[in-house]
Structures are given as C-alpha cells and as structure tokens.
C-alpha cells in the first residue's frame, strides 16, 4: 500500500463525506418534512429540524388513506416481478454463457435493441395489447410488463456472473456423476448467489419505484401501486406535503429492509470479477 500524508486522507474523507451528504440529504429532508406539523411547514421551512415534531401524518396515512392498499399492491408486484425476472434471467444468462446455438447473436442483439427506445413511445401499443386481454387495471398486467422490460438487462447481468464461474467446475461435477442440471444446481447456483441477489435487488427496486406504466395502465385505485398513490396527495389546489412525505418514508422501508438482507451478497456480487479470489 502506498504511503500518503494526513492531508491526503483529510481530503479523501472530506470528499466522501460531501458525496454521502449530497446523496442522503433529500432523504433526510423527506424524513424531516414527514414529521413537521402542517402549521410549521412553511414558517420553519429552512430549519434543519422543526421545533415541534409529530407523527400525525403517519397516522393519517395509515388510517385514513388508501396507502396501505397501494403498499400491498406494490409489494406483490415488485416481489413477483423480482422472482420471475431473476428466474428467467438466470436461465437466459446461463444459456448465453454456456451454450453455442443458432441465432444467439441475433437474440442478444434484439434484446439490446429493446433497451434503446424510450418507454414513453411504447405505452400506447402496450396499452392496446393489454386492454383486450383484460390485463389493464390488474397487477398481473404490471408484473408481465415489468418482467419483460427488466429481463434483457437482468439476463446480461446474470450472464456476466455465470461467465465468471469457470467451466471446469461444472465439467468436474459432470464427471463426478452429476447431470448438467445437477451440476448447475449444486455447483453453479451456490456460487452465483451474489449475482442472484444483485439481480433480485436491481429488479425489485426498478419495479418498486416504477411510475409511468403503473399510472397509464391502471386507473382503478384497487390496482394502483404506491408511486401512483403518492400522486393522490397532490390535489388541484394544494399538495399535502406532510402526508406525502410520510407515505414516502413508509415506502422506503421495505427497500431498506430488503437491501439490509442482500447487502452482503450485493457488494460481493458487484465487485465479483474485479478481484479474483
């Protein structure tokens, strides 16, 4: 390791701290506004913490709004999407990584092409596809759309994790008496857990916070997810910032809990390949 002076480290930590503050400040403000009573909201607008704090916003969000329903919908949609996308992406990624087959080049190319267009362009066609199938105003419709859109990137992500696992290991397992599937299950999957965690995390967050399709495909509140629900706090003449922020904090919780669980795998997964053990 190189030797550096204390100024080097001071600058080092200063920059890191600046970045962390920059990144986390909006979240802090979210929390701050969510506990600020309405009458102080504008009066003490720039104070770092209100002189009185309250949990009223949380209480009314939970008890008097449809937010719990939206929240439940979001959990269902995001979890299902994450599970399906990761399973399919693992299968596709394994195929791309291990097998040579006709048309592979074109399939990969087409999957890349799907990532090139802005989503706004295809909302109308998607809507007219789902409408006659009865998949608008339904969570199933959202899951299908989210899975389809996340699949290409998730597949490439999984492929890179499979690529990092030497073929020798599977071949050794197959010579040891395992079928290809058994070698996959007993050798490859345990070694790809960090990759699976990273993919699940990526897809879950993407589905959790998606607004555009959730807004356009589902108009009934029974099938709305929480990002749509947040918009409900914006009325024609005013915005109920307190409740909106309280709902926002609540919506952050599952993502935070989720990441606490996969965090260890995720860091491992995202740095895999950079440093070979």
């Amino acid at each position: 390791m190189e030797q550096h002076g204390k100024w080097y480290w001071a600058l080092h930590y200063f920059l890191l701290a600046a970045f962390v503050i920059f990144a986390l400040f909006p979240l802090f403000w979210l929390l701050k506004v969510s506990v600020t009573p309405n009458d102080l909201l504008y009066g003490e607008g720039v104070r770092p913490w209100p002189s009185r704090s309250t949990a009223d916003h949380y209480a009314s969000v939970i008890a008097h709004s449809q937010f719990p329903l939206f929240f439940r919908n979001s959990v269902i949609v995001a979890t299902t999407t994450a599970v399906f996308s990761t399973l399919l992406a693992a299968a596709a990624g394994y195929g791309f990584s291990r097998f040579q087959f006709r048309g592979k080049y074109w399939i990969v190319g087409l999957m890349l092409v799907t990532q090139m267009f802005p989503l706004v362009m295809i909302i109308a066609p998607i809507f007219s596809l789902l409408k006659p199938l009865g998949l608008t105003n339904s969570l199933t419709g959202l899951v299908i759309v989210y899975t389809a859109f996340n699949l290409p990137f998730a597949s490439f992500l999984m492929q890179s994790f499979f690529d990092a696992i030497p073929k020798d290991l599977e071949e050794a397992a197959m010579l040891d008496g395992a079928s290809r599937f058994a070698a996959f299950r007993r050798i490859v999957v345990p070694l790809t857990l960090p990759g699976l965690a990273a993919t699940v995390g990526f897809v879950f967050t993407a589905a959790w916070s998606e607004l555009l399709f959730a807004l356009m495909l589902n108009s009934s509140s029974a099938a709305s997810t929480f990002p749509v629900g947040l918009l409900a706090f914006v009325s024609k003449f005013s915005v109920d910032f307190g409740q909106m922020m309280a709902a926002g904090v609540l919506a952050l919780l599952p993502v935070c809990i989720f990441f606490v669980f996969i965090q260890r795998h995720l860091v491992q997964g995202l740095t895999a390949g950079a440093v070979k053990g």
Partner: protein, 363 residues
C-alpha cells in the same frame, strides 16, 4: 480399471479438423501420456474420452463398453484439471465426497473412503478447509483425492502440474506416478512438457496437428523418432538438424559402395544406405547434442564455439560447423573458450536421417 481402445477417432469443429483418425490402445493399468505443443489436439482427445465434447466419427471403448454417446457421468472416469476445479464453496471433505454422495453411498462408507484417500495423500489435516485456504500443491493433492475416492475405470489428467512451480512439479510428478502404480488405474495424462512425458509415461503418444505422430515407450521415441517432429520435440537440449547430402562412393574397386553424409565439404560419417532415397540425395540429419564428442581442434570435424551455456550438470556449446549451427552437450568442463576452434566427432549410428520435405525418417 479397464483398457481404453480408440478406433479411427476424428473430431472437427466446422471445417477445422482438430483430430484426424486417432488409433490408440491403452492397456489396463497403463500410464499413457499425450504430449505435444499447444493446439495439437491432445486436450481435445482427453475431453472426448471424458465425454465433455462429442466425437465426429470413430469409436471409444472403455473396457468392453463403447462409450461414444454416453454422458460424462456415465463413463466412470475421473479427471484432474489444470485449474484443479475444486468446488470453492465446499470443504475438502465435501469436495472429495461429492461424487460418492451423488451415487447415494452411505455416510459411513463415504467417510471411510475419504479417510483412506486422505491418508494416502497425507491431507487428513486439510479435510475441513475450503480450497481457497490451500496452497497450489495441496489443491493438487485434493484434486487427486477427489479422483481417487471414486475408484474409477480410468484417470484423466489435463496438464495437472502446469500451475505449480518447478520444484513442486518435480515432486508431484513422482507422487502421481507412484500413486498410479499403487492403485494400478489406467491413466491418460496430457502435457506439453516432454520431460513430464519422458519421466512419467509407460507409453507416450506424441501429437502434432491432430495426428498421433508416434506411439511408443519413452526410450523408443527418444532413440528412434519416426519423424522430424518427434525428433525435435522429445529431448532437451533439442536434437540438432543439419542439412546434408548423401554421397555414395566405392572406396576400392570390387568393394560394396558406402554412403557418406556430407554437410558442405565436411564428412559427418558413413551410414547404411536407406531403402527410400531421394533423387537429389538431400537429407536432414538429426544428431542428439549429447551424442557429439568433443576432440582437440586438430582432430575430428573443425567447428567454432559461438556460445557457452553452463547448466550445472554440464555445458551446452553452440557451435558453427560448415556454416550450420550445432549444439553439443557435454558433462565435461570444456577446455576451449568463446570463438575458439574445437574438433567434434559423431558415431555413425547416432546419425538419424530424415526426408527434408516430408520429415519422415529414412531407414
């Protein structure tokens, strides 16, 4: 344990022919080494036997069974990889018991088998460790152990010592060979290192460009190479090749004519007249560096010393003879120094003649 019979085996990827008509019989308990430069098809041949690649045509038998279409798991062969391919998420014990577990063997029998193999390899103390906590040599032993516990019909080794340093390689070479002798398991060992091939093999298969150039004992390949490739590949320092001509002369009237090997104006020696002879009389002469004797400058063929390479065991002299380069290996301390003249002498039986165009040995 079983014999391995390979008949007219071919393998191609698209238009590229990687293996051409390989015929090979490996006897029960034999240690066969496939040796050749990279890209010669030796690893492909091993992978075909293992079932990791499909053959294009031909037949492979292990024992009495044709295994052409069988999945790797059904062939009952064990392989030791160059990378060792130990399962990183399993302990040494789990690595070694993996195949037995898949077979559904009882816990007690698995433990006994693992224990026995570990004792033989002296890795009992490592059983609970993960592969990443092992040194290269230890990983090598575990890989061996994983192959051993299964008691397979054959061991396949794919350059297993390439990742070890020179000293450890020498030691493992000995250990693998000794272990194989004890177990008596038919083995096929792939390497690009001719010293490994020479020291370990019962029989060597020298491969080049997808063709088995020569199959024989180490001594046969060394003393009687079938062509220029084998002659040049086996042996270190490598064999000298000198462009020469065969000249036939009748020394006295009534005598049978004799054949002389001429390099420029120098007469290297007399040889028996080969049966197949080219019209122009050109030959490539192969001479092993250690079969050339050094003489005083006044006697023998006159050569000049270009470079001296001491190896400890002896010295390699790079000479210039009749405009051609020649290496001589001697265990004596050479008296002559750089740029000085030296005389050399070669016995006629040490002159091996090859066709300069086809490379085939002329006998």
């Amino acid at each position: 344990m079983a014999a391995i019979r390979i008949h007219d085996l071919c393998k191609s990827y698209g238009d590229a022919k990687v293996l051409r008509s390989i015929n090979l019989n490996i006897d029960d308990g034999e240690f066969a080494v496939l040796v050749g430069p990279s890209g010669c098809g030796k690893s492909t041949l091993l992978r075909l036997i293992a079932g990791l690649e499909e053959i294009s045509s031909g037949e492979i038998r292990i024992g009495e069974r044709v295994i052409n279409g069988l999945a790797p798991k059904d062939r009952d062969v064990a392989m030791v990889f160059q990378s060792y391919a130990l399962y990183p998420h399993m302990t040494v014990r789990e690595n070694m018991s993996f195949s037995l577990k898949l077979r559904g063997m009882s816990k007690d029998r698995i433990n006994a088998a693992v224990q026995a193999a570990a004792e033989k390899l002296e890795i009992q103390a490592l059983l609970e460790r993960k592969p990443r906590a092992l040194s290269g040599g230890q990983r090598q032993r575990v890989a061996m152990g994983r192959a051993m516990v299964r008691e397979p019909k054959a061991f396949l080794f794919d350059e297993p010592l390439s990742n070890l340093d020179a000293r450890l390689r020498e030691q493992m070479r000995y250990e693998i060979r000794k272990l194989q002798r004890d177990l008596g398991t038919t083995s096929i060992y792939v390497t690009h290192d001719q010293i490994e091939a020479m020291t370990m093999a019962d029989r060597i298969v020298a491969m080049h460009e997808g063709i088995a150039q020569q199959i024989g004992t180490p001594a046969e390949l060394y003393d009687n190479p079938a062509n220029l490739f084998v002659a040049g590949f086996i042996g270190s320092p490598a064999m000298n090749f000198v462009d020469a001509t065969l000249v036939h002369e009748r020394l006295a009237p009534g005598n049978a004519s004799q054949s002389f090997v001429m390099a420029g104006r120098e007469r290297l020696g007399t040889v028996d007249r080969p049966r197949a002879l080219r019209d122009d009389g050109r030959v490539t002469v192969g001479i092993r560096p250690e079969r050339i004797a050094l003489r005083a400058p006044s006697s023998g063929l006159a050569a000049q010393i270009d470079l001296l390479e001491p190896t400890g065991l002896g010295t390699i002299l790079h000479l210039r003879l009749a405009g051609q380069r020649l290496k001589v290996f001697t265990t004596e301390r050479p008296a002559a120094g750089l740029k000085e003249a030296v005389g050399i002498a070669v016995e006629s039986r040490d002159l091996l003649l090859f066709d300069p165009d086809t490379g085939v040995r002329m006998r």
